[in-house]
Protein backbone atom coordinates (compact mmCIF):
# COMPACT_ATOMS: atom_id res chain seq x y z
CA UNK A 1 0.00 0.00 0.00
CA UNK A 2 1.08 3.63 -0.48
CA UNK A 3 0.68 6.44 2.04
CA UNK A 4 2.73 9.29 0.55
CA UNK A 5 1.06 11.13 -2.32
CA UNK A 6 2.43 11.05 -5.84
CA UNK A 7 2.65 14.86 -6.16
CA UNK A 8 3.31 17.06 -3.13
CA UNK A 9 1.20 19.88 -4.59
CA UNK A 10 -1.68 17.50 -5.12
CA UNK A 11 -1.81 15.38 -1.96
CA UNK A 12 -5.18 13.83 -2.67
CA UNK A 13 -6.10 13.82 -6.36
CA UNK A 14 -9.40 12.01 -5.97
CA UNK A 15 -10.50 14.26 -3.19
CA UNK A 16 -9.66 17.29 -5.34
CA UNK A 17 -11.69 15.78 -8.12
CA UNK A 18 -14.58 15.29 -5.73
CA UNK A 19 -14.29 18.89 -4.54
CA UNK A 20 -14.39 20.20 -8.10
CA UNK A 21 -17.48 18.14 -8.66
CA UNK A 22 -18.99 19.51 -5.48
CA UNK A 23 -18.27 23.06 -6.59
CA UNK A 24 -19.97 22.49 -9.90
CA UNK A 25 -22.89 20.87 -8.13
CA UNK A 26 -23.18 23.79 -5.75
CA UNK A 27 -23.17 26.33 -8.54
CA UNK A 28 -25.26 24.06 -10.77
CA UNK A 29 -23.43 25.15 -13.86
CA UNK A 30 -20.61 24.04 -16.08
CA UNK A 31 -19.65 27.50 -17.23
CA UNK A 32 -15.96 28.11 -17.72
CA UNK A 33 -15.75 30.51 -14.83
CA UNK A 34 -16.97 27.88 -12.39
CA UNK A 35 -14.52 25.34 -13.75
CA UNK A 36 -11.85 27.98 -13.25
CA UNK A 37 -12.65 28.87 -9.66
CA UNK A 38 -13.63 25.29 -8.85
CA UNK A 39 -10.23 24.04 -9.95
CA UNK A 40 -8.47 26.71 -7.95
CA UNK A 41 -10.43 25.87 -4.84
CA UNK A 42 -10.14 22.16 -5.42
CA UNK A 43 -6.39 22.64 -5.38
CA UNK A 44 -6.14 25.14 -2.55
CA UNK A 45 -8.56 23.65 -0.05
CA UNK A 46 -6.97 20.18 0.13
CA UNK A 47 -3.64 21.88 0.43
CA UNK A 48 -4.89 23.98 3.34
CA UNK A 49 -6.62 21.10 5.05
CA UNK A 50 -3.88 18.56 4.32
CA UNK A 51 -2.49 19.21 7.79
CA UNK A 52 -5.76 17.95 9.17
CA UNK A 53 -5.34 14.59 7.52
CA UNK A 54 -3.57 11.70 9.13
CA UNK A 55 -1.60 9.58 6.67
CA UNK A 56 -4.02 7.07 5.18
CA UNK A 57 -3.64 4.47 2.51
CA UNK A 58 -4.43 5.93 -0.89
CA UNK A 59 -6.78 4.55 -3.48
CA UNK A 60 -4.80 2.33 -5.84
CA UNK A 61 -7.65 0.88 -7.92
CA UNK A 62 -9.99 3.73 -8.81
CA UNK A 63 -12.12 1.63 -11.12
CA UNK A 64 -12.51 -0.99 -8.49
CA UNK A 65 -13.55 1.74 -6.10
CA UNK A 66 -16.17 2.93 -8.55
CA UNK A 67 -17.54 -0.60 -8.86
CA UNK A 68 -17.59 -0.90 -5.10
CA UNK A 69 -19.60 2.29 -4.79
CA UNK A 70 -22.15 1.19 -7.34
CA UNK A 71 -22.51 -2.17 -5.64
CA UNK A 72 -23.07 -0.49 -2.29
CA UNK A 73 -25.74 1.74 -3.78
CA UNK A 74 -27.49 -1.29 -5.08
CA UNK A 75 -27.28 -3.01 -1.74
CA UNK A 76 -28.62 0.03 0.03
CA UNK A 77 -31.81 -0.12 -1.95
CA UNK A 78 -32.39 -3.75 -1.24
CA UNK A 79 -31.37 -3.35 2.38
CA UNK A 80 -33.81 -0.55 2.89
CA UNK A 81 -36.58 -2.59 1.40
CA UNK A 82 -35.78 -5.50 3.69
CA UNK A 83 -35.55 -3.33 6.77
CA UNK A 84 -38.81 -1.63 5.89
CA UNK A 85 -40.48 -4.97 5.79
CA UNK A 86 -38.89 -6.05 9.04
CA UNK A 87 -40.01 -2.84 10.71
CA UNK A 88 -43.57 -3.06 9.52
CA UNK A 89 -43.81 -6.78 10.13
CA UNK A 90 -44.58 -8.33 13.50
CA UNK A 91 -41.80 -7.83 16.00
CA UNK A 92 -41.72 -11.20 17.68
CA UNK A 93 -40.47 -12.68 14.39
CA UNK A 94 -37.35 -10.54 14.76
CA UNK A 95 -34.36 -12.04 16.47
CA UNK A 96 -31.73 -9.34 16.97
CA UNK A 97 -28.13 -10.14 17.79
CA UNK A 98 -24.70 -8.69 18.41
CA UNK A 99 -22.07 -10.15 16.15
CA UNK A 100 -18.29 -9.83 16.52
CA UNK A 101 -16.43 -9.95 13.27
CA UNK A 102 -12.63 -10.20 13.08
CA UNK A 103 -11.14 -7.64 10.70
CA UNK A 104 -8.39 -8.32 8.21
CA UNK A 105 -8.20 -4.58 7.52
CA UNK A 106 -5.86 -2.70 9.80
CA UNK A 107 -6.00 0.91 8.73
CA UNK A 108 -8.52 3.47 9.84
CA UNK A 109 -9.82 4.65 6.50
CA UNK A 110 -10.66 1.27 5.06
CA UNK A 111 -12.12 0.14 8.36
CA UNK A 112 -14.27 3.26 8.46
CA UNK A 113 -15.52 2.65 4.97
CA UNK A 114 -16.27 -0.92 5.79
CA UNK A 115 -18.10 -0.01 8.97
CA UNK A 116 -20.13 2.60 7.18
CA UNK A 117 -21.01 0.15 4.44
CA UNK A 118 -22.11 -2.39 6.99
CA UNK A 119 -24.29 0.20 8.66
CA UNK A 120 -25.87 1.04 5.32
CA UNK A 121 -26.59 -2.47 4.22
CA UNK A 122 -28.73 -5.41 5.24
CA UNK A 123 -30.20 -5.09 8.70
CA UNK A 124 -26.87 -4.38 10.33
CA UNK A 125 -25.39 -1.45 12.20
CA UNK A 126 -21.73 -1.45 13.07
CA UNK A 127 -21.57 -0.64 16.74
CA UNK A 128 -17.94 -0.49 17.60
CA UNK A 129 -14.41 -1.14 16.49
CA UNK A 130 -12.12 -2.50 19.19
CA UNK A 131 -9.60 -2.69 20.65
CA UNK A 132 -9.62 1.01 19.98
CA UNK A 133 -6.49 3.11 19.73
CA UNK A 134 -6.28 6.84 19.55
CA UNK A 135 -5.17 7.82 16.09
CA UNK A 136 -2.36 10.05 17.11
CA UNK A 137 0.19 10.97 14.43
CA UNK A 138 3.04 8.52 14.43
CA UNK A 139 1.67 5.60 16.42
CA UNK A 140 0.16 3.46 13.72
CA UNK A 141 0.16 0.35 15.87
CA UNK A 142 -1.12 -2.60 13.91
CA UNK A 143 -3.29 -4.95 15.95
CA UNK A 144 -5.99 -7.46 15.30
CA UNK A 145 -9.25 -5.50 15.51
CA UNK A 146 -12.86 -6.57 15.70
CA UNK A 147 -16.01 -5.04 14.34
CA UNK A 148 -19.05 -5.28 16.60
CA UNK A 149 -22.28 -5.39 14.63
CA UNK A 150 -25.87 -5.24 15.74
CA UNK A 151 -28.15 -7.24 13.50
CA UNK A 152 -31.83 -6.56 13.41
CA UNK A 153 -32.76 -10.06 12.38
CA UNK A 154 -30.00 -12.64 12.32
CA UNK A 155 -30.47 -15.98 10.58
CA UNK A 156 -26.93 -17.30 10.40
CA UNK A 157 -23.97 -15.54 11.96
CA UNK A 158 -21.27 -17.33 9.98
CA UNK A 159 -23.00 -16.64 6.71
CA UNK A 160 -23.39 -12.97 7.55
CA UNK A 161 -19.72 -12.59 8.40
CA UNK A 162 -18.78 -14.46 5.27
CA UNK A 163 -20.90 -12.21 3.07
CA UNK A 164 -19.51 -9.05 4.59
CA UNK A 165 -15.95 -10.28 4.25
CA UNK A 166 -16.33 -11.39 0.67
CA UNK A 167 -18.62 -8.65 -0.54
CA UNK A 168 -17.05 -5.61 1.12
CA UNK A 169 -13.84 -6.27 2.99
CA UNK A 170 -12.05 -8.07 0.23
CA UNK A 171 -12.71 -5.38 -2.40
CA UNK A 172 -11.56 -2.73 0.05
CA UNK A 173 -8.30 -4.59 0.57
CA UNK A 174 -7.98 -4.61 -3.16
CA UNK A 175 -8.74 -0.94 -3.58
CA UNK A 176 -6.29 0.20 -0.95
CA UNK A 177 -3.80 -2.55 -1.57
CA UNK A 178 -3.46 -3.21 2.14
CA UNK B 1 -51.65 31.84 10.66
CA UNK B 2 -50.94 35.10 12.47
CA UNK B 3 -52.85 34.02 15.53
CA UNK B 4 -50.99 30.71 15.56
CA UNK B 5 -47.62 32.42 15.38
CA UNK B 6 -48.61 35.00 17.96
CA UNK B 7 -49.66 32.19 20.25
CA UNK B 8 -46.32 30.46 19.74
CA UNK B 9 -44.46 33.70 20.46
CA UNK B 10 -46.43 34.26 23.61
CA UNK B 11 -45.93 30.69 24.77
CA UNK B 12 -42.21 30.74 24.06
CA UNK B 13 -41.96 34.01 25.97
CA UNK B 14 -43.82 32.53 28.91
CA UNK B 15 -41.62 29.44 28.99
CA UNK B 16 -38.49 31.54 28.67
CA UNK B 17 -39.60 33.83 31.46
CA UNK B 18 -40.42 30.92 33.73
CA UNK B 19 -36.99 29.38 33.24
CA UNK B 20 -35.41 32.79 33.62
CA UNK B 21 -36.89 32.94 37.09
CA UNK B 22 -35.26 29.68 38.23
CA UNK B 23 -32.53 29.81 40.80
CA UNK B 24 -29.69 28.07 38.98
CA UNK B 25 -27.53 29.42 36.21
CA UNK B 26 -28.17 26.68 33.68
CA UNK B 27 -31.96 26.93 33.56
CA UNK B 28 -31.54 30.68 33.35
CA UNK B 29 -29.32 30.27 30.31
CA UNK B 30 -31.83 27.92 28.71
CA UNK B 31 -34.61 30.37 29.55
CA UNK B 32 -32.75 33.25 27.97
CA UNK B 33 -32.13 31.16 24.87
CA UNK B 34 -35.81 30.43 24.58
CA UNK B 35 -36.67 34.06 25.24
CA UNK B 36 -34.29 34.92 22.43
CA UNK B 37 -36.25 32.62 20.09
CA UNK B 38 -39.43 34.42 21.06
CA UNK B 39 -37.81 37.80 20.57
CA UNK B 40 -36.51 36.86 17.14
CA UNK B 41 -39.89 35.60 15.99
CA UNK B 42 -41.54 38.71 17.40
CA UNK B 43 -39.15 41.11 15.74
CA UNK B 44 -39.46 39.16 12.52
CA UNK B 45 -43.24 39.18 12.66
CA UNK B 46 -43.22 42.97 13.02
CA UNK B 47 -42.62 42.97 9.24
CA UNK B 48 -45.83 40.94 8.81
CA UNK B 49 -45.96 37.41 7.41
CA UNK B 50 -45.42 36.60 3.78
CA UNK B 51 -45.49 33.25 2.05
CA UNK B 52 -43.29 32.53 -0.95
CA UNK B 53 -41.77 35.98 -0.80
CA UNK B 54 -38.10 35.57 -0.01
CA UNK B 55 -36.54 38.99 -0.42
CA UNK B 56 -34.31 37.93 -3.28
CA UNK B 57 -34.91 40.18 -6.24
CA UNK B 58 -36.44 38.51 -9.25
CA UNK B 59 -37.65 35.39 -7.48
CA UNK B 60 -41.18 36.57 -6.67
CA UNK B 61 -43.51 39.53 -6.94
CA UNK B 62 -44.54 40.18 -3.34
CA UNK B 63 -41.44 40.37 -1.22
CA UNK B 64 -41.36 39.81 2.50
CA UNK B 65 -40.19 42.88 4.42
CA UNK B 66 -36.41 42.46 4.37
CA UNK B 67 -35.61 44.98 7.10
CA UNK B 68 -36.87 43.00 10.10
CA UNK B 69 -35.00 40.00 8.75
CA UNK B 70 -31.78 41.98 8.80
CA UNK B 71 -32.57 43.20 12.30
CA UNK B 72 -33.27 39.67 13.50
CA UNK B 73 -30.00 38.48 11.99
CA UNK B 74 -28.14 41.11 13.99
CA UNK B 75 -30.18 40.20 17.05
CA UNK B 76 -29.39 36.51 16.65
CA UNK B 77 -25.67 37.11 16.44
CA UNK B 78 -25.64 39.47 19.38
CA UNK B 79 -27.81 37.10 21.35
CA UNK B 80 -25.37 34.30 20.61
CA UNK B 81 -22.44 36.35 21.82
CA UNK B 82 -24.28 37.31 25.00
CA UNK B 83 -25.44 33.76 25.73
CA UNK B 84 -21.94 32.46 25.18
CA UNK B 85 -20.59 34.98 27.65
CA UNK B 86 -23.23 34.12 30.21
CA UNK B 87 -22.55 30.40 29.86
CA UNK B 88 -18.87 30.85 30.52
CA UNK B 89 -19.65 33.22 33.33
CA UNK B 90 -21.81 30.49 34.84
CA UNK B 91 -18.85 28.13 34.73
CA UNK B 92 -16.67 30.77 36.30
CA UNK B 93 -19.23 31.38 39.01
CA UNK B 94 -19.45 27.66 39.76
CA UNK B 95 -15.69 27.51 39.98
CA UNK B 96 -15.31 30.64 42.11
CA UNK B 97 -18.32 30.32 44.37
CA UNK B 98 -18.60 26.54 44.62
CA UNK B 99 -22.22 26.35 43.53
CA UNK B 100 -24.30 27.25 40.49
CA UNK B 101 -26.94 29.39 42.18
CA UNK B 102 -27.48 32.74 40.53
CA UNK B 103 -26.90 34.50 43.84
CA UNK B 104 -23.67 32.63 44.42
CA UNK B 105 -24.98 31.19 47.68
CA UNK B 106 -27.41 28.35 48.24
CA UNK B 107 -30.70 29.35 49.90
CA UNK B 108 -30.94 28.41 53.58
CA UNK B 109 -33.19 25.39 53.08
CA UNK B 110 -30.58 23.53 51.04
CA UNK B 111 -27.29 25.17 51.96
CA UNK B 112 -27.14 22.45 54.60
CA UNK B 113 -27.33 19.47 52.29
CA UNK B 114 -24.62 18.86 49.72
CA UNK B 115 -25.23 20.15 46.24
CA UNK B 116 -26.06 17.31 43.87
CA UNK B 117 -23.67 16.97 40.99
Amino acid sequence: MRVTPRFSWLPTPYRSLLLLLVWLLLNQSVELIHWFFGTILALIIPWISSKFRDPQPLIERPLLALRYILRVFGDIVTANAQVAILILGPQRRLNPAFVRMPLDLQHDLPITILASTVSMTPGTVSADVYPCHDTQPGDAEITQRWLLIHVLNLEDEAELIATIKSRYEAPLKEIFQC
Amino acid sequence: MESLLAGCIGFLTACGVFLLLRGRTFPVVVGLTMLAYAVNLFLFSSGRLTLQGAAVLGTTDNYADPLPQALVLTAIVIGFAMTAYLVILAIRARADLGNDHVDGKLPENESSRKESR
Binding site: - | L51, Q52, A54, V56
Partner: protein, 89 residues
Amino acid sequence: MLENVIFLVFGMISLALLLNLWRLLVGPSIPDRILALDTMFINSIALIILYGLLMGSPLYFEAALLIAMLGFVSTVAVCKFLLRGDIIE
Protein backbone atom coordinates in the same frame (compact mmCIF):
# COMPACT_ATOMS: atom_id res chain seq x y z
CA MET C 1 -51.66 16.05 -9.56
CA LEU C 2 -48.14 16.84 -8.41
CA GLU C 3 -49.50 19.24 -5.77
CA ASN C 4 -51.59 16.50 -4.25
CA VAL C 5 -48.63 14.17 -4.17
CA ILE C 6 -46.54 16.83 -2.51
CA PHE C 7 -49.20 17.43 0.10
CA LEU C 8 -49.49 13.71 0.68
CA VAL C 9 -45.76 13.48 1.24
CA PHE C 10 -45.98 16.51 3.48
CA GLY C 11 -48.48 14.60 5.54
CA MET C 12 -46.22 11.56 5.73
CA ILE C 13 -43.28 13.62 6.87
CA SER C 14 -45.35 15.50 9.41
CA LEU C 15 -46.50 12.18 10.76
CA ALA C 16 -42.91 10.99 10.86
CA LEU C 17 -41.92 14.12 12.73
CA LEU C 18 -44.67 13.56 15.26
CA LEU C 19 -43.48 9.98 15.77
CA ASN C 20 -39.96 11.28 16.36
CA LEU C 21 -41.36 13.79 18.80
CA TRP C 22 -43.14 10.98 20.60
CA ARG C 23 -39.88 9.07 20.93
CA LEU C 24 -38.11 12.23 22.01
CA LEU C 25 -40.59 12.81 24.78
CA VAL C 26 -40.97 9.27 26.12
CA GLY C 27 -37.28 8.41 25.83
CA PRO C 28 -36.82 6.36 27.90
CA SER C 29 -33.04 6.58 27.70
CA ILE C 30 -31.07 9.62 26.62
CA PRO C 31 -29.61 7.81 23.58
CA ASP C 32 -33.18 7.19 22.50
CA ARG C 33 -33.90 10.88 22.69
CA ILE C 34 -30.75 11.75 20.78
CA LEU C 35 -31.68 9.24 18.11
CA ALA C 36 -35.08 10.85 17.87
CA LEU C 37 -33.50 14.29 17.58
CA ASP C 38 -31.11 13.13 14.88
CA THR C 39 -33.96 11.61 12.93
CA MET C 40 -35.90 14.80 13.36
CA PHE C 41 -33.04 16.77 11.84
CA ILE C 42 -32.98 14.50 8.83
CA ASN C 43 -36.74 14.52 8.39
CA SER C 44 -36.81 18.27 8.57
CA ILE C 45 -34.38 18.28 5.65
CA ALA C 46 -37.04 16.46 3.72
CA LEU C 47 -39.58 18.99 4.91
CA ILE C 48 -37.52 21.92 3.67
CA ILE C 49 -36.83 20.30 0.34
CA LEU C 50 -40.56 19.84 -0.07
CA TYR C 51 -41.10 23.52 0.74
CA GLY C 52 -38.65 24.27 -2.00
CA LEU C 53 -40.68 22.12 -4.32
CA LEU C 54 -43.93 23.71 -3.24
CA MET C 55 -42.67 27.25 -3.69
CA GLY C 56 -40.81 26.23 -6.75
CA SER C 57 -37.76 28.09 -5.51
CA PRO C 58 -34.29 26.62 -4.97
CA LEU C 59 -33.55 29.17 -2.23
CA TYR C 60 -34.05 26.65 0.56
CA PHE C 61 -31.46 24.18 -0.58
CA GLU C 62 -28.72 25.66 1.58
CA ALA C 63 -30.90 25.39 4.64
CA ALA C 64 -31.28 21.69 3.95
CA LEU C 65 -27.58 21.28 3.30
CA LEU C 66 -26.75 23.06 6.53
CA ILE C 67 -29.12 20.94 8.55
CA ALA C 68 -27.44 17.86 7.10
CA MET C 69 -24.01 19.12 8.19
CA LEU C 70 -24.89 20.68 11.49
CA GLY C 71 -27.32 18.04 12.63
CA PHE C 72 -24.52 15.52 12.33
CA VAL C 73 -22.14 17.66 14.31
CA SER C 74 -24.59 18.26 17.12
CA THR C 75 -25.51 14.57 17.35
CA VAL C 76 -21.86 13.67 17.51
CA ALA C 77 -21.25 16.35 20.12
CA VAL C 78 -24.04 15.11 22.37
CA CYS C 79 -22.82 11.55 22.08
CA LYS C 80 -19.29 12.63 22.83
CA PHE C 81 -20.59 14.49 25.83
CA LEU C 82 -22.38 11.42 27.14
CA LEU C 83 -19.36 9.26 26.49
CA ARG C 84 -16.59 11.47 27.79
CA GLY C 85 -18.24 14.48 29.39
CA ASP C 86 -15.56 16.62 27.89
CA ILE C 87 -16.39 16.98 24.22
CA ILE C 88 -13.27 18.95 23.32
CA GLU C 89 -10.42 17.27 25.11
